[in-house]
Amino acid sequence: MLVVLLLLVGLIAFMLLYLLRRAALERRNTRWRVHFSSLIQRAIDWEGAEGDRLPVTFRASRSLKRPAARQLLIAELITGKRALSGSAGANLVRLYSQLGLGADSLRKLASPAWHRQAQGVQELALMEQRNQVARIYRLTNAPNEIIRTEAQAAIVQLYGFEGLRFLDVLVRPLSEWQQIHLLRLLSRTPGTPSGKLREWLRSTNPTVRDFARKLTAEHHLEDMLDEEIQQTE
């Protein structure tokens, strides 16, 4: 019984500490968000030349020495990039590169924790860091489902229909969710599915066949395929 009371006291102490810490963290994050808000705003509106550097306040760059602050900024940049395209979006990417945030995302790829790896993949993809494509591509067949789906989405975001190459070798299933996700991403890129479509329709992976059928329907390529099949028969 004493044990239970001790646990109780311990739990209460833990809760109090947790609440205090969380409140402190929230205050700190709010402060950072305010600094970063104007930073991002200026980046969105910026109309400088290709080689120029985006304006960064001293206060912002000082805050950015902390990894937590950098993570916060990355999250804000990602939210922004999801919503904005054109020069605004491009500027956000430029800001990301200029501040060296790519290193933080890359470090996540090396982490043993699956959610951090997936996070890293997502960040690199949205911030158009194509130089890491080889590492991301290797993850498109990863055993962990989330890493795999993020990697697939990343490749498709960066390379459109060309990126679907991973379907050739994919042994793991493509869930409906993932299929919808990929179709959505593809609908934003120009181009059409390559001749590979026929191969995918005959894949040994039933979910790949399913996805190929959806692609065919989406791009109204049924006629073309029927013709091909007739010709080979």
């Binding site: 019984m1 239970v4 109780l8 209460i12 809760m15 947790y18 996070q119 299929q179």
Partner: protein
């Protein structure tokens, strides 16, 4: 005495296990959803179609508002079916007037046996194209739901009480497990019911979450934390979730029909259906799973008086007993895997029998004390142990809530919850145990007067507080 000790130790260790599994599962879930963009499903034509089934009986005061709020949920392939279970008030007329309903020839594709349908209505106004109203002869909630299943045109059904407030994203979150599955068929997806008492509600929407001022409602809030954030999360991790709460769940319609729909013969028709669906899949050795979403998706008004609470718990007890008895073949039966070896015995011994054990324990203690043979320090130690463990578990549940959804952000609210946890063993728990005992007694009694007595019990609903009245 030793028997009681043994039972308590086993019960408490199982709670400990639940605590651990719940944390692990919650952590995994939290990380998972950080990668989910639900807006993807919201607009997608590929998202699984859902039919919301909302049986209504004499809900005239609020039905128009309820329907309006349900019609505005963010989901593309959504069909809202309101089933008027032969209401004696003007519910149907209000709906017809407000939503410009016209009689229509709607195909009834399901084959479940039900009371006759008097008419099916659709709106002439394209803004309300998702709404379908079915008027039928009174037959009780299970029957009304079965009518809804027969009429539903979408592959998944969501069964709710019409006055539940459903979060905007609820269907998106419920749909995701159906889309994620590869290999295993997801037959049901359960959501969490939260307590709406004390919350600000405007136009049928939850505007602000607040802790109920009423002790009874707060005690239930705490209870729901324990049940949903800890209990169900833990069982979900073991993929052995046996019972899904009545108020909210999405089901694969095909399997529901194959199983025969809702069963009239029990007051716990919602629980019983899930057990039957699981049995169906287990017996046919079909790979399947039942998923669980811990996010607050559905808000409902909890009983705020001891009388109504008593009736509710009485009904829950009877429903659980009836369900477990109907499917008693599963108990300790390895053919049903984890369900038979873990879940079923757990529900039987620790959920169903617990109140009985407690009650007999109390009686036995009183008898022994009267006879002068009571080992007082031993008894106090046992009592103290159990009570403080209970409080510990509640505090843990509060911590879980604070660390995850954190719906009650005020420190004052957290303190009030803690206080409620301390008062609970005195002011709440004994009452719940007593209601459960009454449930057992009532069930035994009704067994003799089967048929007539039970039917009356279904048709008369409990008076529900009106959440649309100003707080």
């Amino acid at each position: 005495m030793t028997g009681l000790w043994a039972y308590s130790i086993t019960l408490l260790s199982s709670y400990l296990a639940i605590g651990i599994f719940a944390i692990l599962e919650m952590r995994r879930y939290w990380r998972l959803i950080s990668f989910t963009d639900y807006s993807l499903v919201a607009g997608s034509p590929q998202a699984p179609g859902m039919s919301i089934l909302a049986p209504a009986y004499n809900e005239g005061a609020t039905i128009v508002e309820n329907v309006r709020s349900l019609l505005s949920l963010h989901y593309r392939n959504l069909e809202l079916i309101v089933i008027n279970d032969g209401s004696k008030d003007n519910s149907l007329q209000q709906l017809i007037d407000h939503y410009q309903l016209e009689r229509t020839d709607w195909p009834v594709t399901g084959s479940l046996a039900t009371k006759p349908i008097r008419g099916i209505y659709k709106s002439a106004n394209p803004v309300f194209h998702r709404l379908l109203v079915v008027d039928k002869e009174n037959g009780g909630k299970a029957d009304a739901l079965n009518v809804g299943i027969n009429v539903a045109s979408q592959p998944y059904i969501v069964c709710i009480d019409v006055d539940c407030i459903i979060e905007q994203d609820a269907l998106l979150k419920m749909a995701k497990p159906f889309l994620d599955s590869t290999g295993k068929r997801v037959i049901a997806s359960g959501g969490v019911v939260r307590i709406a008492n004390g919350c600000e509600i405007r136009n049928g929407r939850l505007v602000k979450v607040k802790l109920p001022n009423d002790f009874l409602a707060r005690a239930q809030t705490l209870e729901y934390f324990r049940a949903f954030l800890l209990g169900r999360m833990a069982w979900s991790r073991l993929d052995a979730l046996l019972l899904i709460s009545g108020a909210f769940g999405a089901f694969d319609k095909e399997i529901v029909i194959a199983c025969g729909g809702y069963n009239h013969a029990t007051v716990g028709e919602d629980m019983e259906l899930v057990v039957r669906m699981r049995r169906y899949m287990e017996e046919r050795r079909l790979p399947y799973t039942v998923t669980y979403i811990p996010d607050p998706l559905c808000w409902t008004e909890a009983p705020s008086s001891y009388k109504i609470l008593g009736r509710q718990r009485n009904r829950w007890t009877r429903g659980t007993i009836e369900t477990l008895r109907m499917h008693r073949i599963m108990c300790f039966n390895p053919r049903y895997g984890r369900l038979g070896l873990l879940s079923f015995p757990y529900w039987l011994f620790f959920e169903l029998l617990a109140p009985l054990v407690e009650f007999t324990g109390v009686l036995a203690t009183l008898v022994v004390a009267a006879l002068g043979g009571l080992n007082v320090p031993m008894f106090l130690a046992l009592l103290g142990f159990i009570v403080s463990f209970g409080i510990l578990f509640s505090f843990f549940a509060i911590l879980m809530e604070v660390m995850t959804y954190n719906q009650y952000k005020n420190t004052k609210d957290i303190l009030r919850l803690a206080l409620t946890a301390i008062l609970e063993p005195v002011l709440f728990h004994p009452f719940v145990v007593w209601s459960a005992i009454r449930g057992n007694i009532d069930l035994l009694r009704k067994k003799k007067g089967w048929g007539e007595m039970t039917r009356k019990g279904f048709a008369a609903p409990e008076p529900k507080p009106n959440i649309y009245a100003n707080p």
